[in-house]
């Protein structure tokens, strides 16, 4: 299958750390392959596929696994270790779309006024100003900077509408990290990530995770805010045709606001990260 070998080199989230109890077995799927997560006495977790152990690590509040004995290193989020941040695993949302479609939607700001109306955006504030995008070859990431957008309620901690600054990183084909203006702590940035578990090419589990400066809101409120946002995204993601992400530019017409998406698609194609993608026009 196209892109499977490349996809097997990456780490993927399959559970929230500490969420399994001793002796519990959890069956799930990764890249179309059945895997089982085994909860252990001391909360050490093992993951098996067809009886064989897979590499496991716990990071960013999630359990990660890979099919490779020599995987690409898990990406770094230095901010995760900063003192004072509240770390918020937001649970899981099952979405019937390509894992790549889920990531691309996360990189998109032009949909805010229409999909997250009166929260992350509102008409008439629909304009997307020019921003910078690059494919950083040395760290092999897509990075978008100087992204700005007017938001009525940028976060649970935001009061009135503000112009929010964003930086986006695509740190792996199925991992995106955004940094955005932190309403209660000017000068700092909230970190919000989308970790995507590809169940197969057209179905994924999305594990949003946040590292915020927010001491006002309860964990439950922050999680439900993020879940509300993502469930709105799901109504889009499950209605895009085709379900896989088309990489041929003839299939879908972009505009200047889609610079990040264009770079993401190009980067995927160039790196052979085409699991969940359509490489030719249909």
């Amino acid at each position: 299958m196209a892109g499977l070998e490349r996809a097997k080199e990456d780490w993927y989230p399959i559970a929230i750390a500490g969420s399994t109890v001793d002796g519990e077995q959890l069956d799930t799927s990764l890249l179309g392959i059945n895997i089982t997560l085994h909860g252990d006495k001391d909360r050490e977790i093992s993951v098996t596929a067809d009886g064989n152990n897979l590499p496991v690590q716990t990071r960013y509040d999630h359990v990660w696994t890979t099919f490779s004995e020599n995987p690409r290193p898990l990406f770094d989020i230095p901010e995760a270790d900063e003192a004072g941040r509240v770390l918020v695993p937001c649970g899981v949302v099952r979405v019937k779309c390509s894992p790549l479609r889920a990531v691309e939607n996360f990189l998109d700001i032009a949909h805010f006024p229409f999909v997250h109306t009166d929260v992350l955006g509102a008409e008439p504030h629909t304009e997307v100003e020019p921003y910078d995008v690059k494919i950083d070859e040395t760290i092999d990431e897509v990075i978008a900077t100087k992204v700005k957008f007017f938001q009525p309620q940028a976060a649970k901690s935001a009061g009135d509408g503000i112009v929010t600054d964003y930086v986006y990183r695509v740190a792996a084909p199925m991992v995106s990290i955004l940094y955005k203006t932190c309403p209660p702590k000017p000068g700092s940035q909230d970190v919000i990530t989308l970790f995507v578990q590809p169940l197969d090419e057209e179905t994924c589990n999305v594990w949003p995770w946040m590292a915020l400066y927010d001491y006002e809101n309860s964990m439950a409120d922050m999680i439900s805010f993020q879940q509300m946002i993502f469930v709105q995204d799901r109504s889009i993601l499950e209605n895009q045709l085709p379900r896989k992400l088309p990489l041929d530019p003839k299939m879908e017409i972009p505009t200047r606001a889609d610079m990040t998406s264009i770079a993401y698609r190009r980067w995927l194609k160039r790196g052979g990260a085409i699991y969940g993608a359509l490489t030719e026009a249909v």
């Binding site: 629909t126 109504s235 209605n239 045709l241 085709p242 879908e252």
Partner: protein, 228 residues
Amino acid sequence: MVTEPVGLSNNLPIKRVMPARVGDTDIAVWRSASGVVSAWLNRCPHRGMRLSHGFVRGESLACLYHGWQYGCDNKCKYIPAHPALEPPTTIQTMAYTVVEKHGVLWVSLDGTPEIPALFEKLQPVRSISFNCSNEDVLSALAETTLTCDDGQVLSASDMQSQNILILDNPQNKPKLAVLFQKSSAANVTAHLLADNSWSIDGLIRISRWCELVRRRAEIKIPDNRRNL
């Protein structure tokens, strides 16, 4: 390709959009503020979003995802992310021929509308969808009868050409016609048209009758095959 009935005119008021299916083709049908009907491939050219989830503004259909607006000439009129930009005329939806006749919306995928001339005296009643195969619907239809206001009992006669089922058709004056929309193996949509002999109570009876047909048709298939 036969022209397919995809809905009833009175179920598509102005400034509304609805999804439809002709065989494997996903379609969005919408009516502008001035009443113009369009039928398009149900896919925004920008990022593939189903246009049937969009919203009508004046003479344009806007995609729900990014608000791109497409006019009745199928061309993109407005991209909200770039309000000052004149969208290139190459950005357009994939349009099909749609004709409104006999109170029914007819779509032709290949551009040549062929609409049966049989229904001049018939009025649209309602549409109904079945989560089962065409055969299940036809066999449930054969098992049920419908009573007219004058006491006459109707039963399904032979299937006419073009997927039209006529109920009691002695002198080519059908009291009730069922138009079947070409659909998938596990899903059938039908549109009901009645002549002017039916009272309001009679039309309600027609509506209940087709729901009875649906209950019987859907019960014919085992649960694990049901497309719930």
